[in-house]
Subunit: 204 residues, 2 copies
């Protein structure tokens, strides 16, 4: 959306609409609606939003250990003495850490790759935070690497790269189970999920 | 979403997610995604967004004539000598002005109500910018009021209120045609739209 499409909008308004429109998943219409919503917010609340944006940019850094986004170094997970230092769960994205933390079933450490290997998009092992992973495994303290990349072509390729790299070392490499999602139904499952669920069947 | 749901997120990040989550149409998941997107933006661009939010709050006021949101008083439409001062189009919302301007088929002035009469929600004529409309019609310069409220129950009630208020004056009151949307099909039209289209049929 360019300024020409907003002939009767005030310049500061048109500018806000343009800035909002740059965000992922926010099209021109949503950007307009958000902009008018922001205009009508009490002054303090709009200021809070602007401050939060500035604050996050100023304070967020990569954790020197797990590479997650954090405002303390090391991050709260790496610094937590209660976490199991024998396990590292490798994820693509900081959002995946949040998702796993919500399950409360994992108490080990993380490693955030910030991407996946994707030769078609020109992303090799050096373009993601893979080289930071292997030194963490060298002192023998870590017994298991749980690979939790997404079950996509690129995620699987990244998992494969990591497991090959660790073949022959003393580190056990596992990945998350594939199968039927809880609450899902066989009828609506795709064949690949169903065949993985069948292959991975467990005794009851 | 509360901070407790983001145990491993940095406080400044959790705060940004909360602020984004307050915006209309942005749920917890979108807020997370947007926050991580903002973190990865080049510094300048995140600053631009924050600045645009602050600027819009500082500069946007109601136009003293049409009540549209503007940063000049009167707004660019009201100040434009090329506009037809004999017509005022009454709309619910500033976004409706943008929508009408994009059609390039109307060259008159506007009046923005910032709402509709809605007794169920406790919104009467005094809670929207209706009282600012009638003085604009008192000097006889305006010949036509085009009511362009939405074709909803409340929009129609508001239109009715305005037309009753102007009954007996020299101002012609019109409203936008109802009918089949261009590109639509009879088969999928609701009965009300179809009956309005039938009643409003025009000679070819």
């Amino acid at each position: 959306m360019t300024l020409e499409h907003l002939p009767s909008a005030a310049p500061s308004l048109a500018r806000l609409i343009q800035e909002l429109n740059k965000l992922p998943g926010i099209g021109p219409k949503s950007a307009q609606r958000l902009a008018y919503y922001i205009i009508r917010l009490p002054d303090g609340e709009a200021q809070d939003l602007a401050d939060a944006i500035n604050a996050v940019k100023q304070s967020i850094i990569f954790c020197r250990e797990c590479q997650n986004l954090t405002d303390a170094n090391p991050c709260s997970v790496c610094a937590n003495a209660q976490r199991n230092r024998e396990q590292i769960c490798v994820v693509e994205d900081p959002l995946d850490v949040l998702a796993l933390e919500r399950t409360h079933c994992y108490r080990g450490l993380y490693h955030v790759l910030h991407g996946v290997i994707s030769p078609l998009n020109g992303i090799g092992p050096d373009q993601i935070k893979l080289k930071e992973l292997f030194p963490r495994l060298s002192d023998g303290a870590v017994k298991e690497v749980v690979i939790a990349t997404n079950p996509t072509l690129e995620g699987e390729a990244t998992a494969m790269y990591i497991s090959r790299h660790l073949a022959g070392s003393n580190v056990k490499v596992t990945h998350l189970a594939r199968g039927l999602p809880v609450g899902g139904s066989l009828e609506y499952s795709d064949e690949l999920t169903l065949s993985r669920a069948f292959q991975g069947r467990q005794e009851v």
